[in-house]
Subunit: 456 residues, 2 copies
């Protein structure tokens, strides 16, 4: 173990330059024009896994972006760790707000800046490098390893669920190790035990069969933008409550123990508002900010478009308007049920002057993991030894929809040993990843394997 | 007069090819990237006016797009007609819905297809050609002529009002002749005696200082798109009534005589809905479709934009959202008053979680003209003789804001001797202009000059 940790310490420079090569591939899964780049990222990764000594490194094609798999299964009596991550990244717009080029990573102030540095290329790479450190120092690991790295996490993991169901034997393991979350605060290692799910729908309202002159027709023909806005305004009440009938039916109340735990975390509402540049927060009455984002469902417009959106004025009464709406779900809501309920409600509130199309873009169920299992405890110990600070338990508002599939299909718990920090700007311009967390994360991964091996 | 009408008949082919040259210049005033094209259109027009024999043809620069002026003032005892029109055109998006290239006009089925054919290059050109017909047949006109052709009508005529105020003597006349409206129906020549005004505002709602991850922050931070939609939904009631306090204070009720006149016009609500492809109409309760679009104010969203609007999904809680909102005004509403009232109301209903910017893009007062004055009567006679059908009186929902300036600053009535047809698709893809109306319009213009000369 000491050899492995020393090796990691000595190879930092190479570990960084290899990560940069990986980051330079603009593997944006949500934009079809980048489909060649996701293929390129998958191929680069597969070659890399082969080179560091993993077995059966290969690409599985899907109807969407490819899945990368590799394994090391040479121990008969050791447990097996399935490592999950994703090589795809978010789109980069608005590009003008980036201080560096998103796909030309730059190291500055102890951080690496660029799209995918934290979410998730940098985080998943820590495990690849810890595996390499073992294989180059004695040729063996303390546990069996399976690596599953997908290319559609940022676009809803549309094909991974089926892939897992169809390859249960290949993927069988004792736990899933995932680094795709953030610490609660800088310097405070954290294990996340619950994630929200998501339902993402696109709504199109169509009025007249062509764009009309708003002078000639305004006042007699319903305007699709006005109609869409009216419908959106009916989705949430002023008290932050979502009005979709039956929306809260399956929501699990948070426990008093959780409430008490959250209160002890170092959270300043003033600092939070100041960082976001807002004068006031908003949300469901009766819940704190952490409770709202971690334990309560939400509904957000992710995009809206209609009519003339160029500079200046055009007096058009447009033919249609489109909105992208996502809802974050909490245990025990189910994405299929919620998508069905919003579609039904939207149809109910749409006036007969327009045509309505609701397109379910993607979804994922929420997940909550037991905090006392062996893998989670090994994760807590690994973080403490690697970073020298006692970790905390937290939940997260974001979604890694596939964690729920691991639980329900493979029947194994996930350990969310995240390495990101709150200022990483994931999904935003100027995404970055702290290099201490990158190198420390490689060590934590190595320690995790050893700790988890001992639990057998 | 016979000579002039015969000449017009014999020169049709040339009149068409000259119009096509004019139409090929993409003089879109609302898009800054076309600023060179508006200049080119103004220069081409000025040269053309000079060539046909008008005096003092020249360009007046403004802070926006240039104004073209020319005159023929050789009669001492004759009245003076100020002809107003515009050489600028609407943007052409969505381009994919055009069946021909918008700036490469095509003649088909007795119509000319392209941007600006009807609004307003084709219509204003009828007067230029009738003037030319007089000057080439005897060298004189029955009236004095002033031509004022601006380049900002589709962008709010921002600088023409000041120009008129500063050039009252140069522009002094007995009437303004304008062809920039449509007939009530194919084959039914019409004089429009009232136009709606307009107030056009752009509203920007800003929340957090950057785009956020909707999972991490959703539920605790107000979403600018949701906020904007909520605000928009508060602008109008379900009964089609605009909720802005004081909005209806100055609205003139329509008279029973007008209501009776409108009822006699050949209007089919079924045909109207069928043409637009909608299953139901909408609007202020207690008014017919014609009354709603001609005599009642309206409020329409002309554009909305926020967050991620590309293909696919991006789970962003956006920093801001923008809406373009226009209100059509009726006598005696005033655009300044209405812009003030909507700004005040928007500020009142904006939550403290966001920052609000309201930008008044442009405005124009509504206008209503006396139907019994000499110029209007000359217009009725000219249309009847040129087209062989008794014209009707109508109002229009659109705005030519400058008509109100002619009334209030120059103190002269306008004759809206429009030549467009309801199927001309102005402001839409596949704009077109009926060639019968083009050639007949040139004759009607020539006859108007003669009839109006006799009223002195």
């Amino acid at each position: 173990m000491k050899n492995v940790l020393n090796y990691i310490e000595s190879e930092k420079e190479r570990y960084l330059s290899e990560l940069i090569t990986f980051l330079k591939i603009p593997s944006i899964s949500g934009l079809p024009e980048h489909n060649k780049d996701t293929v390129r990222a998958a191929e680069w990764l597969t070659n890399h896994l082969q080179q560091i000594g993993l077995d059966n490194a290969r690409i599985f094609e899907t109807a969407g972006h490819p899945i990368v798999y590799a394994e090391w299964l040479e121990l008969q009596d050791a447990p097996t760790v399935l490592i999950y991550g994703h090589y795809d990244v978010q789109p980069v717009d608005p590009l003008e707000l980036w201080k560096t080029k998103p796909f030309d990573p730059v190291v500055k102030n102890g951080k690496i800046w660029g799209r995918g540095t934290s979410d998730d290329k940098g985080q998943v790479f820590t495990h690849i490098k810890s595996i390499e450190a073992y294989l180059r120092n004695g040729g063996k690991l303390p546990v069996n390893i399976k690596l599953l790295i997908e290319g559609e996490e940022e676009a809803g993991s549309s094909h991974l669920g089926d892939f897992i169901s169809e390859n249960k034997d290949m993927l069988a393991a004792d736990t899933v190790l995932i680094s795709d979350t953030e610490w609660f605060a800088d310097g405070l290692p954290s294990i996340c035990y619950a994630l929200r799910g998501i339902s993402f729908v696109e709504v199109k309202v169509t009025g007249p069969n062509r764009d009309l002159h708003s002078g000639t027709f305004g006042g007699a023909v319903d305007n699709p933008i006005n109609v869409l806005c009216n419908m959106i305004s009916k989705l949430k009440s002023n008290a932050g409550v979502i009005n979709i009938p039956g929306f809260y039916d399956d929501v699990l109340d948070l426990t008093q123990e959780e409430r008490d735990g959250f209160k002890k975390l170092p959270f300043s509402e003033d600092k939070y508002m100041n960082d976001l540049g807002v004068n006031a927060l908003s949300g469901e009455i009766g819940y704190t900010t952490l409770e709202r984002t971690w334990t309560r469902p939400s509904l957000d417009l992710n995009g809206i478009k209609g009519g003339f959106i160029g500079e200046g004025a055009k007096t058009v009464l447009p033919s249609h308007a489109i909105a992208k709406i996502s809802m974050r779900l909490v245990p025990n809501q189910r994405t299929k049920d919620i998508s069905y309920k919003i579609e039904k409600y939207l149809k109910q509130i749409a006036p007969k002057t327009v045509k309505l199309d609701v397109n379910l873009l993607h979804g994922g169920n929420p997940v909550i993991a037991p905090r006392d299992n062996n893998a989670v405890q090994a994760g807590m110990q690994a973080l403490e030894e690697a970073f020298g600070t006692k970790p905390v338990f937290m939940r997260e508002g974001g979604s890694i929809p596939i964690t729920e599939v691991f639980a329900s299909v493979l029947n194994i718990p996930s350990v969310l040993m995240g390495l990101g920090l709150p200022g990483d700007n994931i999904h935003s311009p100027n995404e970055n990843f702290d290099l201490n967390n990158y190198y420390g994360g490689i060590k934590a991964s190595a320690i995790f394997f050893e700790k988890f091996a001992k639990t057998r």
